[in-house]
Symmetry: C2
Subunit: 315 residues, 2 copies
């Protein structure tokens, strides 16, 4: 089932490219980059490249490293805004080095992403640059909605489309475009990635509600505490209010503890989770179906496998 | 004396390119970008393009906008770290919208810089990406040195080379390379820009010590309060200690006020300022001399004029 994708080369590039003349920046970036993570986005780049018929997969390695670094940069900055203390099973950069150096570490990772991509063709740079803007826009929308205490279903989807699905789409577009794939294959992989990205984020939001910090390797219960995510969606149309409006004002101090348990006993939140799971399942089906036009290959099989894993994962 | 450079087109691009689907980001970026500023970096790009014999200056406009946006992004992030309240005569983004949205505004400006540059040739992207990394490294070094309470002359120059001169060099390299200039012209303009960048930062540090907030349009006295800048350099070789070590621990609450005046009465700080002025003068001479190999033109004349202004400016 495992196709031959050079993930080890990506790991090496992640660390070598973020070495800095300023030792502190090498240290902070290595801290978060060597902690692992699922490497889902680099996998998407490499598998899309292979699935789209690319013949020299080494040329996709810098693209895979670039998306992982920019993704990690946004995590480092998000952890400043959320006061997160745990990420990928380790102390956050923010928690260990303080918010000033965490801010600069995120900036450094942005500029390193740009450095990796600079020698690449303009078409690939356009793809990643557009997605990078959407990441920032999605995060901004999310914080605005949380502060306003209003999160309807449409806004929830707009947020997760920008902050998660956009980069998934960029991953497969980068891989497939670098492979020289015909437009309809690029399009099929984009449809796969967009639906997978939405499903991934819905499951992520569910895990934040019900998951265990140890297994997740990051803080849980942050979403409810900050008035965001699936549990904060208020929608009259096909789901009861997921949360009483007052819950949206709760500070992050209460994250995780008894507050979470009381909410899980709440029927409406259970309903939101059940609806979320059903929606994620539906999105994954759509993702899988879009792959049908691609010629069968180990890479396509692995893309299918990966989509099913997104649903069944517990971290 | 004024050569025809399309600065108005740069202004328009700055605002049009940072319009976002998320209105808040359009608002925060317009707040800081429309406040003006000296536009020194865009001028350098456009003048270098013209001085290097470029014939279609409109093609340098996106490059000029890109450097101004990335420069402004670093100001927005610096203002978070410094708790700055005044920038370009306006309230800082941090002060008006809070640190979370200021962080995202800076990130948004980074990704917009990347979007503007994406269609450009790889050679130009390499130039800006390398400088962007140096900006972040310089800022990191500066904060580290301030926290450690040790700033020797070499470290001071390494900091200002990275955080200021590197982007000045990128400006002229971008302009001259886009113009298709021969390597020796690019080199001459780089030497000009590097020396000008160092001189500019030394004068900036002097203005922070003695300047008036109203005229500067930004907080003054921040450097001493935070243990950085020219006044914090400790060097036995050719200048007395500029500051007693204890002054480096002073918090930003004391910036500007009586603390500053007592330091200005201090002979050693006066000496540091005098030495700084002499050094800036010497660097500007070097910058001017490097232009001699370029064919005479209104653009070269304006580059000379600009270098002299750097010394005489009061903001």
């Amino acid at each position: 089932m495992t196709s031959e994708i050079p993930l080890q080369a990506v790991e090496e590039l992640l660390l070598s490219v973020t070495r800095s003349a300023v030792p502190l920046l090498s240290e902070t970036t290595a801290h978060i980059l060597s902690a692992g993570g699922k490497r889902l986005r680099p996998r998407l780049v490499l598998l899309a490249y292979a699935a789209a018929g690319g013949t020299n997969i080494d040329e996709a390695v810098p693209l895979a490293a670039a998306v992982e670094i920019i993704h990690t940069a946004t995590l480092v900055h998000d952890d400043i805004n959320d006061h997160g203390t745990l990420r990928r099973g380790r102390e956050t950069v923010n928690s260990r080095w303080g918010s000033t150096f965490a801010l600069l570490t995120g900036d450094f990772m942005f500029t390193k992403t740009y450095e990796i991509m600079a020698p690449q063709p303009a078409e690939l740079n356009r793809i990643l640059a557009r997605a990078a803007t959407q990441l920032v826009e999605g995060e901004t929308l999310q914080i605005q909605a949380a502060r306003q205490g209003t999160l309807d279903r449409d806004t929830y989807y707009e947020i997760i489309a920008r902050k998660t699905a956009a980069l998934f789409v960029a991953c497969t577009e980068l891989g497939a475009t670098a492979a020289g794939a015909p437009p309809e294959w690029v399009e099929a992989l984009s449809t796969y990635a967009f639906n997978l990205g939405l499903a991934f984020q819905i499951v992520d939001d569910i895990l934040d509600l019900i998951g265990d910090e140890q297994t997740l390797g990051k803080n849980a219960g942050m979403d409810l505490a900050q008035g965001r995510g699936l549990g904060a969606v208020r929608d009259d149309s096909n789901a009861p209010d997921a949360l009483p409006a007052t819950a949206l004002q709760v500070t992050s101090d209460t994250a995780g503890g008894p507050f979470k348990e009381s909410l899980l006993a709440d029927h409406s939140l259970e309903t939101a989770i059940a609806l979320g799971r059903a929606k994620a399942q539906e999105l994954v089906e759509r993702a899988l179906a879009s792959l049908d036009i691609l010629p069968p290959s180990p890479a396509v099989e692995e893309l299918r496998h990966l989509a099913r894993q997104v649903i069944s994962r517990d971290r």
